[in-house]
Symmetry: D2
Subunit: 134 residues, 4 copies
């Protein structure tokens, strides 16, 4: 993933580590989610405000390959690219790389859909934003 | 998954819900992990004690399909079956079903490996337990 | 706290442990909250349903004394007693005891208030339940 | 708390919100802990490395006053001052203020002790750092 449509830097927090002294597997989903929400905000798509309008962005599928663990004090970047899949699905390709050595920590593919009053709708219709593949 | 090698029942806790009023995506990994650790304990494999012996059970890949959300007060069961993949990998097939209606909430495939001083070893050698496919 | 108005049993989950191999300090607040919500449900007070009616039960103050840590595989019970403080505050006295030896893990005092459209109201008025001191 | 010995800025992440749409009470302890650990690192005290040497910094008491909630997209600063209490205790005075309006979200008093092989020791002896009151 040489160029990313969006990047966000983080630092590991010690409460995210488990007894193995590494970031717990589930916490990477928190990182990925926060990066996606900041990416969406950068396109004026506000997860919390949409919920108030009965439009919910939800995840229908997650695939994560764990390559190497993050540890106490590690810094890292979450990179995002997206593409459309059919009319209803947005695919988020997300990679976490350690800083400064660029080691790949995880790569992930997340499929998101958009629900209006509980039914799938086209993301463009619900969010007013055109998705390009990148 | 009609018969499961292991089952564990849970109840949703309100702090696990996010602003959409549903269990946050990452929390399902917590449920899946806890069920796996209890399953391993039932086979006398103790995640925490193994770590003290420099043997670490780690996850190398996660696939989760989110079918329906859990909400406040929902009860549910995590079901597990396993199979070996090659010499080094254990595949955990995990399903979460809501109680009492049996609605499938997620299905997941988790690949685990066993590291001794950081290097992959056969799970049998590290844990002293034979794995059957079920 | 010899007699408790409410008790709830839990088992530690490994993802709740931090790199010290003990339950992270913040997680005890999760245990305390879940026990309070189950206690409230036992009195037909439904935290999530009240939120839909714009009535929010919130915590205004927490005091926790950490006496001993919980570790992997520990079971424990959260005990609750309550008393009113003035017209607006409910005080929850909560203790966590390890099972089976009864060792006190934490004792806590949590002050809760009831907000209707953001303003404090008498808990009786909002929930329809009389509080006795116990 | 006009001058703080240490400050750290954060932004709320949506997975930290609960169904009330506000940061869950327990999450503030995560913020406070991360700020303390970064503060300690700024004094060359490394929580994770000390644990490897059988020296554990632990919390013995927490008092938190919740003044106002944080919501989606809020930025905030955690401010820290410390003082010694007797020979064995460090008191952390911590305040969270919303950015940019400075509204006080919580104020907290956290008491920390230092354990070496499970027994309390003087923080100076274990960490090699003199504590001044500020």
């Amino acid at each position: 993933m040489p160029e990313a449509a969006f990047k966000l830097e983080f630092k590991v927090r010690d409460y995210e580590l488990d007894l193995q002294g590494i970031v717990n597997n589930s916490v990477y989903q928190n990182y990925l989610e926060h990066a996606r929400h900041e990416f969406l905000l950068s396109k004026n798509i506000d997860f919390a405000a949409l919920h108030e309008q009965h439009i919910d962005l939800v995840v229908s599928r997650v695939e994560i390959n764990y390559k190497a663990p993050l540890q106490s004090q590690d810094s890292f970047v979450v990179k995002i690219n997206t593409e459309k899949q059919g009319n209803l699905r947005i695919v988020f390709h997300q990679i976490i790389e350690r800083i400064p050595d660029g080691k790949v920590i995880i790569d992930a593919t997340i499929i998101g859909v958009c629900l209006q009053n509980g039914r799938p709708v086209k993301p463009e219709d619900a969010t007013g934003v055109e998705w390009e593949n990148k």
